[in-house]
């Protein structure tokens, strides 16, 4: 059977007798026809990507170098790189504290969620009713951010559950969300708690894929549980860890829903992050140019962080 989709080699084409011309033309026509049909079938998908990905991306790029209030498309006023320079101008809060907060928020979330999920996933892997435990830990993922944020907000409030526990232990109350020094770490804890479920799900799958023979060999050699964890479990879990690390970091860099519910970016700018600032610049202040420029800067940060993570893990011989 002739595979008409396979490209014809130069050698084959060169040795084809001229008398075979009509047959070759026929095959070419058939191939062209198939290609046209293939593109026609692809057209809805390509159109979808063009409308919902390429077009918005191009529009955002245009806006990042323009001034636009968001109302009339005729009023887009090109300003070159002014929006980008404005983000880093003297007195701008974008680099500090906003971008710094964004990185700290993402880093803190990843560190806490990763550490917590490794411990919990390892424990679950050694327990009965694993499905039940995984479901319980997954519950925050299927709960709306507004509910999660508000419940934790009440728990953190002066007179709330957390301060109640502190008071019961004879300690003074802490203004978790009102003190600029504790506000960001307090939100990070909630974000980590809310995202630990998905990490556990991935890590338990990773743990299941580690061959039992390694553990048997380690047991024969007399290795203790701590050695087994550090020398076998953790290294073989690295691909899952890489995946969790990258996805959680990306989510952390772009999320602001929890922050808007819990602190609205305050007090002051203590918990303000890039995505929240972009949202405000565009939809509240009508400065779409600055918002788009900030979006591209965040994209650069996300890209750099992801590349660094990939490089670190690949140096250790693992590929996502």
């Amino acid at each position: 059977m002739v595979n008409t989709l396979a490209p014809e080699t130069t050698e084959r084409a060169a040795h084809s007798p001229r008398s075979a011309g009509p047959a070759v033309d026929g095959r070419r026509r058939a191939r062209r026809h198939q290609a046209v049909v293939a593109y026609l079938f692809l057209a809805p998908t390509l159109l979808f990507f063009a409308v919902f990905l390429i077009l918005p991306l191009g529009f955002a790029l245009l806006l990042s170098m323009s001034r636009w209030a968001g109302f009339d498309l005729d009023d887009i006023d090109p300003v070159g790189l002014d929006n980008f320079t404005g983000l880093f101008a003297d007195g701008s809060t974008f680099l500090t504290p906003i971008l710094t907060n964004t990185l700290l928020f993402a880093l803190g979330t990843v560190a806490l969620a990763l550490a917590g999920s490794v411990v919990v996933a390892t424990c679950i892997n050694n327990l009965r009713f694993q499905g039940l435990w995984r479901t319980l830990y997954f519950l925050p993922i299927v709960t709306t951010v507004v509910a999660v944020g508000n419940v934790w907000k009440y728990m953190y409030e002066p007179g709330g559950l957390v301060n109640g526990v502190l008071n019961a232990l004879g300690l003074g109350s802490v203004a978790f969300l009102q003190d600029p020094d504790t506000a960001l770490p307090s939100v990070v804890v909630v974000q980590a708690w809310a995202s630990v479920g998905s990490a556990i799900l991935i890590l338990t799958a990773g743990l299941k894929s580690i061959p039992e023979s390694y553990y048997e060999a380690a047991a024969l050699d007399g290795a203790g549980p701590v050695t087994v964890f550090w020398k076998i479990t953790l290294p073989l879990l690295r691909p899952s860890l890489l995946f969790v690390c990258i996805t959680q970091f990306l989510t952390g860099l772009q999320s602001f829903a929890l922050i808007i519910v819990m602190t609205k970016g305050g007090p002051g700018d203590a918990t303000n992050v890039a995505a929240l600032e972009m949202y405000r610049q565009a939809f509240s202040y009508g400065d779409w140019g600055t918002a788009s420029a900030a979006a591209f800067m965040l994209f650069v940060v996300v890209l750099l962080v992801t590349l660094v993570q990939l490089w670190i893990f690949r140096r250790k011989g693992e590929d996502a």
Binding site: F41, L47, Q178, P267, G268, Y285
Partner: protein, 446 residues
């Protein structure tokens, strides 16, 4: 493939390819805008934030009345929640589907005028507006001296106080000066041994832009200051009045009479706040949620620095304006005139008493308009005495600044107030940073 299929119009494959494209194209197409046939009535769209039950019904009443009595021009209402209102204006305007009549929060007027969304009121309507409404309401509906719409609800700020808490602290009446305010705040504040606030003497809250900034601007206006400079291109917060307000708030927080982290709206209802500055709309909520405890609630004018200072406070509000993109501006203005200035009988008041439809509508939902005569008619005998200070304030309130960039200036002020309250900045730093940031952003917006 059979010959009959090849020649029989659209093949199944072609149909399969064409269908998604057709669906996508139909999805992207503009919605039906009416027949446009000669003789058919003109349909005006009105986009407001009256999305919830009571507000929606309140507006629908007069609109139904207009539609029943006018054959040539009909009005169709559309509503979104307030939090989505500005975004909806933007999206619809950019898509070429802006409503004929819009109801913006007056803070956005500068932004909307600069973006070419609001149409200036024709001279005859401007005359009616300046004649019929109070200075604060007209100021809120104007940008650069031009009137852009009919003011609807107007909120003035006053001091809410808990009579029981003041009585328990041995204080007879509400404070009239800042010194009395501070004394009352310190005497009524209570904390437990762990530092938890039991009672805030004076409620300062970081709840949102409106709460935080509203409290501060009401005090600033009471001290004779303004947030935005006379030319509208910068801030005037770094002044004697501004410093006095920041100093006062800083002292109240440092000495423990205020706990900005606590939501004052909830705490006041629970009897955990002795005094707080807020807008008139709150009386309705308090009455509904406090039940018989509402009898402990009193309202007084915002205290002034010295006893002989003239009263002043902040006012905020909404207005109804006509979109520049409207194809029927004359009809839209005519509808607004009918709704906002034509007087009709008030059933609940004495015989012969009249008020505009908008004033009746606003009072029915516990709000006020900038028409003092209507308010006196509608809030006659038997109405809540706590509304009286808000009504009186219509005469001396200062409208919230609405220059281009006002929303961002307000957010920047909130951030710096919070930084002051939480000890991140001193009074000097907060004033300086606010001035620098607001000046920079407001000048960019022009």
């Amino acid at each position: 493939m059979t010959p009959s299929r090849r020649t029989g119009g659209l093949s199944r494959r072609h149909f399969a390819l064409a269908l998604p494209s057709a669906l996508l194209a139909s999805g992207c197409a503009a919605p039906h805008q009416g027949t446009g046939r000669p003789g058919d009535p003109i349909v005006l769209t009105l986009l407001s934030h009256y999305a919830s039950g009571e507000l929606k019904e309140a507006l629908q009443g007069p609109v139904d009345e207009w539609n029943a009595t006018h054959d040539r021009v009909k009005v169709r209402t559309k509503a979104v929640e307030f939090t989505d209102l500005l975004t909806t204006f933007m999206v619809r305007q950019a898509a070429g589907q802006g409503a004929d009549i819009i109801q913006p929060y007056c803070l956005w007027n500068g932004q909307l005028v600069q973006a070419g969304v609001l149409r200036p009121a024709p001279s005859e309507h401007t005359a009616e507006i300046t004649r019929g409404y109070g200075k604060a309401a007209v100021g809120a509906a104007s940008v650069g001296g031009k009137v852009y719409g009919y003011p609807t609800e107007v909120q003035t700020y006053a001091l809410y106080y808990n009579k029981r808490l003041l009585r328990e602290a041995g204080i007879v009446g509400p404070p009239r000066t800042w010194r009395e305010l501070e004394e009352t705040a310190y005497r009524t504040a209570k904390r437990d041994r762990y530092g938890n606030t039991l009672v805030q003497g004076f409620g300062l809250s970081t709840y949102d832009d409106s709460t935080t900034v509203g409290q501060t601007l009401a005090l600033l206006n009471a001290a004779g200051g303004t947030f935005v400079s006379a030319d509208g291109r910068g801030t005037a917060i770094d002044s004697t009045a501004g410093r006095a307000v920041f100093d006062l708030e800083h002292r109240l927080v440092v000495k423990g009479a205020s706990a900005p982290g606590i939501n004052v709206y909830k705490a006041f209802q629970s009897g955990q706040v002795a005094m707080v500055v807020s807008a008139g709309w709150w009386t309705g909520s308090l009455k509904a949620q406090m039940g018989k405890d509402y009898r402990d609630v009193g309202v007084a004018p915002v205290p002034v620095p010295k006893a002989d200072d003239a009263p002043a406070t902040l006012s905020t509000g909404f207005m109804l304006g006509v979109n520049t993109a409207s194809e029927h501006p004359r009809e839209a203005w005519e509808f607004l005139r009918w709704l906002n200035t034509e007087k009709v009988d008030v059933k609940s008041a004495r015989k012969g008493a009249t008020a505009t439809r908008m004033s009746s509508l606003q009072v029915s939902v516990g709000s006020l308009t900038g028409r003092a005569d209507d308010m006196r008619t509608l809030l006659g005998q038997g109405s809540d005495p706590n509304l009286r200070p808000f009504l009186d304030a219509l005469a001396y309130a200062v409208p919230e600044p609405n220059v281009p960039g006002a929303q961002q200036a307000k957010s920047l002020l909130r951030k710096n107030i919070e930084a002051l309250w939480t000890g991140q900045q001193s009074v000097d730093e907060a004033l300086r940073t606010t001035r620098r940031q607001v000046d920079q952003e407001v000048s960019r917006s022009w």
